[in-house]
């Protein structure tokens, strides 16, 4: 069936995201929380994540421009973003966040900038991938957004 096919695709996309390290175990936990009461929990969380993270990324960018050298401030912003990444299991992105924070600790502005670029990039990639993923799921079937399908 078409639905089954779509579900399979979604599953394999998810698997690849895990294999490539974009997502980690935490994401599974989030998906696990989906149930009858909140059938679209995972998707809601993820879209909330991207909304918030986009804002946070912009904040950081702004802070870096407006307050050059204020590593504490940069770090504080990044910590927020990192928290979100952790919560949904965005592991590559959170790694970049960590390296950004490390650069802040070393007061390495150039390092920060580089890390920040990576953060932005990972953010964009992840967003795109997760959007495809959820789209597949949506198409695959309304009822059970197949958290379990595709062999977790």
């Amino acid at each position: 069936m078409e639905y089954a096919n779509l579900r399979r695709q979604a599953a394999s996309l998810k698997r690849s995201l895990f294999d490539q390290g974009y997502l980690d175990e935490q994401f599974c936990q989030v998906e696990d929380l989906q149930d009858e009461a909140s059938p679209n929990f995972a998707e809601e969380v993820v879209s909330l994540f991207f909304k918030d993270s986009a804002r946070l990324v912009a904040n950081i960018e702004q802070a870096m421009e407006k307050y050059p050298g204020d590593f504490n401030r940069w770090d504080a912003h990044m910590q927020q973003l990192k928290g979100s990444c952790f919560s949904i299991g965005a592991s590559k992105m959170s790694n970049e966040c960590t390296s950004f924070r490390n650069s802040c600790a070393e007061e390495n502005a150039e390092g920060c900038r580089r890390s920040f670029q990576k953060v932005k990039r990972e953010h964009a990639i992840l967003r795109q991938k997760l959007e495809s993923y959820f789209q597949l799921l949506r198409q695959a079937g309304p009822a059970r957004t197949a958290t379990r399908s595709g062999g977790k």
């Binding site: 935490q26 936990q29 989030v30 929380l33 149930d35 809601e44 969380v45 909330l48 928290g83």
Partner: protein, 651 residues
């Protein structure tokens, strides 16, 4: 599950609460605060999955408002540390002070100093993001513990006033009900926070309350005395007028001249207040040491690791760091240090006991307090002991717990207090002179501002009596390991009870802290403190460290740590070893030393007379730890963590 949750909704309110209580922890009402909406949402999902009743807000101010409006609306608060509108720690303090609710901190930041800060501010637990559901499943313990501790405090208060022997039935009952850990937690909680004991305990007859409390884990809802700002101000004024050392509830009550306030209310509030003060004074010093010790890792973890450490078996101690790490930490640390491979990780009960005892002692020279603690400790220890010795998973959790526990543990001054107390105790105890010496040294060594309250001296006296008992557990002697500055685990000889004051990861601390040798210096002396007997015995044990009670404070913070160490050493040593051996620390609070002499031996085997050798084989320990860590700490039990904290908490 869903159905239950749905059922819970309409049940809110007293009646609902009653019902929920029956099904506790299902339906426990949690308030979650986090400015990060994503985290908050995920957290909410997780909590609901645990069948708790969740309310969320992403503003601390709103949370505070909600809590103030109706104090009975929630059982537990979970809050992020970094929030824009109000610092999480501040919220934590306010909630603790005004509402006496258990608060759990959340953060991506697991640095020792932050965790420590959480503890010193009164957090029951400190979780790292991303939070896992397993951790949340257990948070209801904090609610129970608090209730129990409140009750205990009540008892203690009474005891204090009447010098009653603490072994009240209720107390025991509590222990039983709470299966030890609760007690520990409770005591710890109560000690940790100087929240107004309010209601339950204060109401009427303590014993009655206790009895009642024992029956229902969730605690019946007795009218609480709300310590409003105004009331507290009067209280503080009265205390200052009388002098903090001379302030007795009766006089305070008279001075305050408030209707409907009972002496019990004042007594419990006083206890908390004392703890709070202590915490304030020692926080700074401890922080450093703790940080050092823990090095950002759960010390206990290391402890557990120790278990597996072939070389280092300092403390069969408190391997299992109960979630109460904070308290347990101390003890746990010691125990952990023991790394009882073979020994059941005796929970740091020793420490804990000591801690608890100390705390009490500090405020209260009643021995029985210690004894009480002991009891708790024992319970806990037993529990801790049972904890699987080397279970990786447990470890994992344990680490987390430890971390959090540590946080709580450190909440502060409690630890310090305990330490001081222990130290005091140790010194005073008639422990082998050598030990005493050591202990004393520790005291001296402790840079930390652990102020040994006058009460401590009382403790000392008591300990004197105890010492004979403690003999076996030379460990107790050990306590005096002054962990000053960055007491690096390395420095600490294995003997030293591993007091993992610094909650953070043990491994880190262990490895990391390179304590100055000054500590070591102190330490070695201290080490010797350990009852020679025990130490020697310990030597035999694999553990290099003397597990007996000596909880090594791997605290990097010397001062603080030293305090802790001392503390842990004193009290725990004895028990620690025993515990370890038996896996149950019976911290006999000095007075009644558990007859685990043999245990001690057992422990000794584990411990390798670490203490005996003044040289802190901390390095060895550390290495062991590191090694263990690498191997996956077998010892996940939080035993270690036991009571150390409570002591502080008690304060």
């Amino acid at each position: 599950m869903l159905l239950d949750a749905m059922m819970m909704e309409p049940m809110k309110g007293l009646m609902g609460r009653e019902r929920e209580r029956d099904q506790f922890p299902v339906g426990m009402r949690v308030l979650a605060v986090d400015d990060d909406r994503v985290c908050l949402k995920v957290l909410e999902g997780l909590l609901r999955r645990c069948q708790y009743h969740v309310t969320t807000t992403n503003q601390a101010i709103t949370a505070l408002k909600l809590l103030r409006e109706n104090k009975d609306m929630f059982d537990l608060v979970i809050s992020d540390v970094h929030m824009p509108d109000m610092d999480g720690f501040k919220l934590l303090e306010l909630v603790g002070l005004e509402m006496d609710l258990p608060v759990i901190m959340l953060s991506v930041n697991g640095e020792t100093k932050t965790v420590l800060k959480g503890i010193t501010h009164g957090a029951c637990d400190y979780l790292l993001k991303p939070v896992r559901i397993e951790e949340l499943r257990n948070v209801w313990q904090h609610v129970v513990r608090r209730k129990f501790s409140n009750r205990e405090t009540n008892n203690l208060d009474f005891s204090k006033e009447y010098s009653k022997h603490p072994t009240t039935d209720s107390y025991h009952g509590l222990s039983q009900v709470a299966s030890g850990s609760s007690d520990q937690g409770g005591s710890r909680a109560s000690k940790k926070r100087k929240e107004p004991q309010s209601e339950e305990e204060d109401e009427g007859d303590d014993n009655d309350n206790d009895a009642q409390d024992n029956d229902e884990p969730s605690g019946s809802k007795k009218p609480r005395v709300v310590w409003s700002v105004e009331l507290h101000r009067k209280f503080v004024a009265a205390v200052n007028h009388l002098g903090i050392d001379k302030a007795v509830p009766k006089r305070i009550l008279e001075l305050m001249n408030v209707e409907k306030l009972t002496r019990e209310n004042v007594a419990s509030h006083l206890q908390k207040y004392r703890l709070y003060l202590r915490r304030l004074s020692v926080v700074a010093s401890h922080q450093a040491s703790i940080a050092a010790v823990f090095g950002g890792r759960d010390p206990f973890l290391h402890m557990g690791a120790f278990e597996g450490l072939p070389s280092y078996q300092p403390f069969a101690s408190s391997a299992g760091i109960p979630s109460f790490n904070p308290h347990g930490l101390l003890s746990g640390v010691g125990t952990a240090a023991f790394g009882l491979k073979d020994l059941a990780p005796s929970k740091a009960i020793q420490c804990a006991s000591s801690n608890g005892a100390v705390s009490h002692c500090i405020g209260d020279t009643n021995k029985f307090h210690i004894a009480n603690l002991q009891e708790n400790q024992q319970a806990n220890l037993a529990q801790g002991l049972t904890a699987p010795l080397g279970q990786p998973q447990l470890q994992q959790k344990w680490i987390h717990q430890e971390t959090s526990d540590l946080s709580s543990f450190f909440s502060g001054s409690a630890l310090a207090n305990t330490m001081s107390g222990t130290l005091q105790r140790v010194t005073s105890s008639s422990l082998p002179p050598v030990e005493l010496l050591e202990c004393t040294q520790i005291k001296v060594g402790a840079h930390s501002s652990i102020r040994i309250p006058p009460a401590s001296s009382g403790l000392l006296e008591r300990s004197v009596g105890l010492s004979p008992n403690l003999q076996d557990s030379s460990i107790s002697q050990q306590c005096a390991i002054p962990i000053d500055d960055r007491f690096s685990v390395n420095k600490l000889p294995l003997h030293i009870p591993f007091v993992d004051v610094s909650t953070t990861k043990l491994d880190a601390s262990f490895v990391a802290p390179e304590q100055d040798m000054d500590q070591k210096e102190k330490f070695p002396e201290r080490v010797t403190v350990l009852p020679s007997e025990s130490l020697i015995a310990a030597d035999r044990s694999k553990c290099g460290t003397r597990s007996s009670g000596s909880t090594m404070l791997l605290l990097s913070d010397t001062e603080r740590h030293s305090k802790y160490l001392k503390f842990g050493v004193a009290s725990n040593s004895r028990h620690g070893i025993d515990e370890m051996v038996n896996g149950s620390f019976n911290y006999n609070g000095g007075a009644s030393v558990p007859e685990q002499n043999d245990v001690y031996d057992f422990g000794n085997s584990k411990l390798q007379g670490g203490f005996n050798s003044s040289s802190c084989n901390f390095d060895g320990l550390l290495n062991s730890i590191i090694k263990v860590e690498n191997d996956d700490m077998p010892f996940a039990d939080n035993d270690l963590g036991c009571e150390l904290f409570p002591l502080g908490a008690c304060i």
